[in-house]
């Protein structure tokens, strides 16, 4: 991949965003010309309830250096309760991932509503900063 051919390493970061809030926030951030790093790749899913831990594992497996899962604030889920279920899963998963040795900064979760374009940009800055500080991820990564 082109990113790896550069002499300067740039992190590969996957953001899994819910359609109704975080994805809308990304749109808004674009509309308002908030700048955020180009190292992130967004995957849109219908709801944070759809965010299977497999997505995160698969991303690391295939070479991601960091993963962020993001959806509506608790109470604001488009479908009522998706993010509440997801919240439990994420709490458990994050601890499990740390237990097997993944640095907590590589796997983050946040709530970003559709109106929070600036928060989206800030979160991305912070995420890229955190992951860049850690360097390339080798853990859980496929041996090609």
């Amino acid at each position: 991949m082109s990113v790896e051919n550069n002499n300067e390493w740039n992190p590969k970061i996957i953001v899994i965003a819910c359609n109704w809030c975080t994805y809308a926030a990304a749109d808004l951030a674009g509309l308002n010309h908030y700048e955020y790093p180009a190292d992130i790749r967004i995957i849109r899913v219908p709801c944070s309830g759809r965010m299977d831990p497999l997505f995160m594992l698969r991303a690391f497996n295939r070479g991601a250096d960091g993963v962020l899962l993001s959806g509506c604030h608790p109470g604001d889920c488009h479908y009522g309760t998706g993010n509440y279920y997801n919240r439990r899963r994420q709490m458990m998963m994050k601890r499990l991932m740390q237990f097997v040795g993944l640095e907590p900064e590589r796997y983050q979760t946040s709530w970003i509503s559709g109106a929070e374009g600036s928060k989206f940009a800030e979160t991305m800055h912070k995420l890229v900063e955190d992951v860049t500080a850690l360097g390339p991820n080798r853990k859980l990564r496929d041996e090609r």
Binding site: M1, R62, G63, D142, R144
Partner: protein, 338 residues
């Protein structure tokens, strides 16, 4: 006769290791199997030449659990195979028992006969030299002789060693074996030792006529009962020295990737599931039946001897306590009209 004094064993293994990967029976922590001699960590790992056998057979030396076959590269509408990964690095299996070597012979028949020579197996197999360790004292779960294996004179060995206590009698049987012996000839002594006395088998198994009889037992109720406890996990197939079924899969990363093969197990539902969703062996009973019929009947029909080598490993590892010797005797005693 040529003698290898046990005090020289390490030196011999080191010497052999100069030109080849040497796999020896070894215990590593809580597991045991055939591992590279070089990987032995003093204090932690232990050479297991004098144990009856080890948990994992040397099958993976010639037929690794996962083996990359070739790379794939896609460009627009083009498809390229850039490299095939046949591995013919020289290797030595040191101290395998007759049952385990018979397992390799079974695989030879499958992979190297029948109209096609499977090149990945062939490359590994031809570069492998086998040093057999003759068995004089069968364990409680051993029944190799009943399956047509001679524990004293293993078929397929290039060199045979016989444990006399302080030393091994070393005998090269093939050209490959002679070549191996010549690299260590300064470490062998010339001396006459008496061959140990063979002890009788504890486990009595009578396979005579079972293959023939099983032909009429496909729908026999014996399978309902014997398969009930089976969990359909794949332990028995994965630690079996002769089970050879494999799967071919691919890993692509964008436009490049590789195709590999990996062990598969007839115990899994996915094994025979067709693309359209149908499955000729939908429940554990059919899969269980196919495994034992394959071992005891189908393979014998095709290659003239059973696919079971009597090592007794599946009996030792089965979480549900299923015992292939009981199945042989039940088939032997079964009433065909039942």
């Amino acid at each position: 006769m040529k003698i290898l004094n046990k005090s020289k064993l390490e030196e011999v293994l080191n010497r052999l290791g100069e030109n080849a990967d040497v796999y020896v029976p070894m215990s590593k922590g809580l597991q045991s199997g055939f591992y590279p001699w070089k990987s032995l960590e003093g204090g932690k790992d232990e050479l297991m030449l004098d144990a009856l056998n080890v948990y994992q057979p040397p099958k993976s030396v010639v037929f690794p659990q996962t083996e990359r076959m070739y790379s794939l590269y896609q460009e627009g509408k083009g498809l390229k195979i850039e490299e095939t990964y046949e591995n013919d690095e020289p290797r030595v299996i040191f101290g395998a028992r007759a049952c385990d070597i018979k397992g390799i012979i079974c695989m030879d028949e499958v992979f190297l006969t029948g109209g096609y020579e499977e090149s990945f197996y062939k490359a590994r197999r031809e570069s492998t030299t086998i040093v057999a360790n003759a068995c004089y004292e069968p364990g409680p779960s051993c029944f190799c002789a009943a399956m047509g294996v001679d524990p004293l004179n293993p078929e397929g060995a290039d060199v045979i060693i016989r444990d006399t206590g302080d030393a091994y009698i070393w005998e090269a049987l093939t050209e490959k074996g002679e070549a191996l012996s010549s690299t260590i000839k300064d470490l062998l002594e010339e001396k006459e030792l008496s061959v140990p006395e063979a002890k009788p088998f504890i486990q009595q198994v009578d396979y005579d006529g079972v293959a023939e009889k099983l032909k009429g037992m496909f729908e026999h109720p014996i399978w309902d009962r014997t398969s009930e406890a089976c969990l359909n996990c794949g332990i028995c197939t994965y630690i079996c020295p002769s089970c050879y079924c494999f799967d071919i899969q691919v890993k692509m990363y964008g436009h490049e990737g590789y195709r590999f093969r990996c062990w598969d197990s007839c115990m899994y539902e996915e094994y025979t599931r067709e693309a359209g969703g149908g499955n000729p062996r939908p429940t554990g009973r059919e899969r269980f039946r196919n495994r034992f019929l394959h071992k005891l009947e189908f393979f014998t029909e095709r290659y003239g001897h059973p696919l079971c080598t009597g090592c007794g490993r599946c009996i030792v590892v089965c979480p549900a306590g299923i015992n292939i010797t009981s199945i042989i005797s039940e088939a032997k005693e079964a009433d065909l009209d039942a």
